[in-house]
Symmetry: C2
Subunit: 148 residues, 2 copies
Amino acid sequence: MLARDLAQPFPVVRPDTNALAAARLLAEHRLPGLIVVDEADRPQTVLPGSQVLRFLLPAYVQRDPSLARAYDERTADRLGARLAEHTVRELLPRERATLPVVGGGATAVEVAAVMARLHSPVVAVLESDRLLGAITVSGLLTLLLPAA
Amino acid sequence: MLARDLAQPFPVVRPDTNALAAARLLAEHRLPGLIVVDEADRPQTVLPGSQVLRFLLPAYVQRDPSLARAYDERTADRLGARLAEHTVRELLPRERATLPVVGGGATAVEVAAVMARLHSPVVAVLESDRLLGAITVSGLLTLLLPAA
């Protein structure tokens, strides 16, 4: 099995994707993060879900998390609405995470070595510089474990 | 909504859990990692899936990942069998990851602040020092986003 056979579709966003749409993708697909691609479908970075949370927290809670308790819970569900006026670009951290990538011809053991070295639960699979999909650590383990 | 209402069951292992059983939990539940608890159900750390992969790689690939390509793919599916003779304790990295925890009475905004600060996709929820469950970033976003 090569990376191109193991790659699964993975939700992607672009820097100009609406931030609320991106947050909905994370919620619906139960993902810890999304792959951010440019206009030519080349993966650029990862948008971690924790970064989306950071953005929707009130500014004073971002500055001092101990103030979170004081936040009125009855209006907590309005926090998410703030995202609608922003894009993914605005949510990305200044220090962008490197998305591990492998070529479509990488072997399962090569993919495992990349995940292990970079402590990453996901790697992007590229074919001719375009994103083919992604391999998760659970997907790779399913392949590598002996039948029960 | 408080953390105790948001907490979902999350697969846990103990240091003496069989490593192959732990890897199967990761694969079956499609998780990036597992919570490791002690004999009193107190969370100790996280076992990342990437660490399980690291352990099942041949020693020479762990030392030099560029050698992964040379590994005979036909026997790759036997790598996982190695895990059966080991425990979770042996898989844990020397530098153990800190699992973010909140009390059952933490508000959704407090949980978001903890995830944002620690860049974590999951937090453990404790009640009387015992693990009640976990909250994922996607679960929390589902709560905080406006209805579509």
